[in-house]
Symmetry: C2
Subunit: 359 residues, 2 copies
């Protein structure tokens, strides 16, 4: 994560993983989730916080979920309907269930199909927020599979290249691939220049924009640094400008809309504004000896990590490496939350009438 | 394609599709391909030229293929070995066959598996150049499937974000998705800032670099415009700089290396330097009613095309749209080749001892 997104030292409150896990789980149970769904949804958020992906941890998301359950946008006890199914595919109506527990359930089905037939995929319509795609993809990597997850959101905020009106959400894509000795490859990115939550986070920590991060309200790329976050803006596809490859970010955003929205029946995101997901698992052994694959992955990831850095750079990472290191650190030191987040837990505790053991 | 890559007016020779097709097919037959393989490989190159993707048409590629057949790097009569196979997957050793005809054969098998089981994939090792991934992905879209193709090359030329040594080829990814009324979605991009062939093309047409397109030999991003193409450089992942999302381009490049190299047994590209491919087909009907899907795709693509443009922009495209329009134009007007390309055909004609009917 870029420095500008980090919680300033003075505002940090360190909380042990156990404590934030219990507090989060308590809230999920209180809003009506089953024990299993609460456990899984908590695990998704805490994994994000441990990895340093605060944008998709409890800070930004939990309060919005609680409000979704209270206004009826989210259903705490969804009954999943299978709309269509084949050897290797399924399409689900998630009955307004939160993606943070629907996603793992869908990925599990994709993995069962992959176990039997080599690959499996589940597309999901009528769901709530996924809470990042990384956790879901990573499930497959733990079972000697390659995992992929995408989510297309109802929030239409990103313009296509050259466009003046938004057509996409942040439409993230994640891939996870196992190795043997090396920390797994885990890649989870928005197809916009910056994740939507990162803009909110930047506002919270008082950071500004850097050039080509967003467009103004008429679609013109803001190609200069700003002091704060403008009131009105549109997100840009990653790359930012056409010259820097924004047409590629745009194309990946479109692929996510297609695989999540059109394939699940939700329809185009910018028309129907439904949250939809897509999960895919590939069984490595269906293609290649799993041991050889993992050895090759070790060589691959080690070779990337050991790439000599360019002048002025400390080291080269591969996707998942710095987050793996951050997880180890945070498991030991606790997770640094902005004090406002802890204050929110205090408020939620009285409003929901639950006891939470937090600083 | 950006203006700087276009063949200057004075250097253009327009050739009718038929004529260049016959000439190309004649050369493929002369170097020893079977009738069917020559026909398919020709079709791949001419489709690229018709779509305006001259970087992967006859201009850049045919002479390198001819030299590959003559030095033994390519095998004109490959015997494909199936290394592993399941309901939905296959892994092939392509016996040094050119990707331009191996790819369509592999995609066909992926589609047959998808027809039966919902999805299918074929990974390929020990092959030659794919000639772009778009043609291969597009095959699936013609049969009511979503198609995806990737190729990891032996040519190691792109640095990872912050890195000073190259670890990747241009590692392109293509997706193709059918619609009903609208020209199909077809997205085919390098995961580097610019395709390798585009740099060669820029050199041929005398164009320079724009900022953040490549790094110097020590890995430092060249963040200014240049007059010509430097003698030594490395490619950057798309995005260019970390701030503009190059870590995302890097991650997609790594996914391509994994799906093509590690999954086929070729191993990491930067270690084993083998050309490997990956092809995937998803049958739409396994997820969703195909008619509804295509209607949704029409709405989606029309909505993208009709996005009001930002100030200073003429219109908004979607991936595949301008190439579709260019194809119609070139089918009528002929394909504009650089005169050097036509001169090469003249030389090849005498060297190979074949008659070619070209200007």
């Amino acid at each position: 994560m870029l420095e500008r997104f980090k919680v300033p030292d003075a505002d940090r409150v360190y909380v042990a993983e156990d404590k934030i896990r219990v507090a989060t789980n308590t809230i999920f149970l209180k809003v009506g989730l089953s024990d299993e769904d609460a456990r899984v949804a908590t695990d998704v958020l805490i994994m994000n916080d441990l990895r340093g992906v605060e944008t998709h941890g409890v800070s930004n998301m939990l309060r919005s979920y609680v409000s979704g359950y209270s206004n009826g946008a989210l259903n705490p006890r969804p009954e999943i309907k299978t709309l269509r199914e084949s050897d290797t595919t399924a399409t689900w109506d998630a009955d307004r269930g939160l993606g943070a527990h629907i996603g793992p359930a869908a990925m599990w089905v994709a993995m069962e199909k992959a176990e039997k037939h080599g690959q499996g995929a589940v597309s999901v319509t009528n769901s709530g927020h996924l809470a990042g795609a990384g956790y879901h993809a990573a499930m497959a990597a733990q079972e000697d599979m390659i995992g992929m997850a995408m989510t297309g959101s109802g929030g239409v905020q990103a313009v296509p290249t050259f466009g003046a009106e938004p057509r996409f959400g942040t439409n993230p894509i994640a891939y996870a691939v196992p190795a043997r000795r090396m920390p797994p490859f885990l890649f989870d990115v928005a197809t916009t220049q910056v994740a939507g939550n990162k803009i909110r986070l930047a506002r919270r920590v008082g950071a500004g924009l850097i050039p080509n991060w967003v467009a103004g309200p008429d679609g013109t790329v803001i190609d200069r640094e700003t002091d704060g976050i403008p009131d009105e803006y549109f997100m840009l596809p990653f790359g930012g400008t056409r010259e820097n490859g924004s047409h590629k970010g745009y194309a990946f955003a479109a692929v996510v809309d297609i695989m999540t929205g059109q394939l699940s029946g939700a329809g185009p995101g910018f028309i129907h504004q439904k949250t939809a997901h897509y999960f895919q698992a590939w069984k490595i052994d269906a293609f290649m000896d799993t041991d050889k694959f993992k050895d090759d992955m070790d060589d691959f990831l080690e070779g990337l990590k050991n790439t000599p850095p360019a002048p002025g750079q400390e080291r080269v990472f591969y996707p998942g490496l710095s987050e793996f290191e951050e997880t180890n650190k945070r498991k030991e030191e606790g997770i640094p939350y902005h004090r406002e987040v802890i204050e929110w837990f205090g408020i939620a505790s009285s409003e929901l009438g639950v006891d939470l053991d937090l600083p």
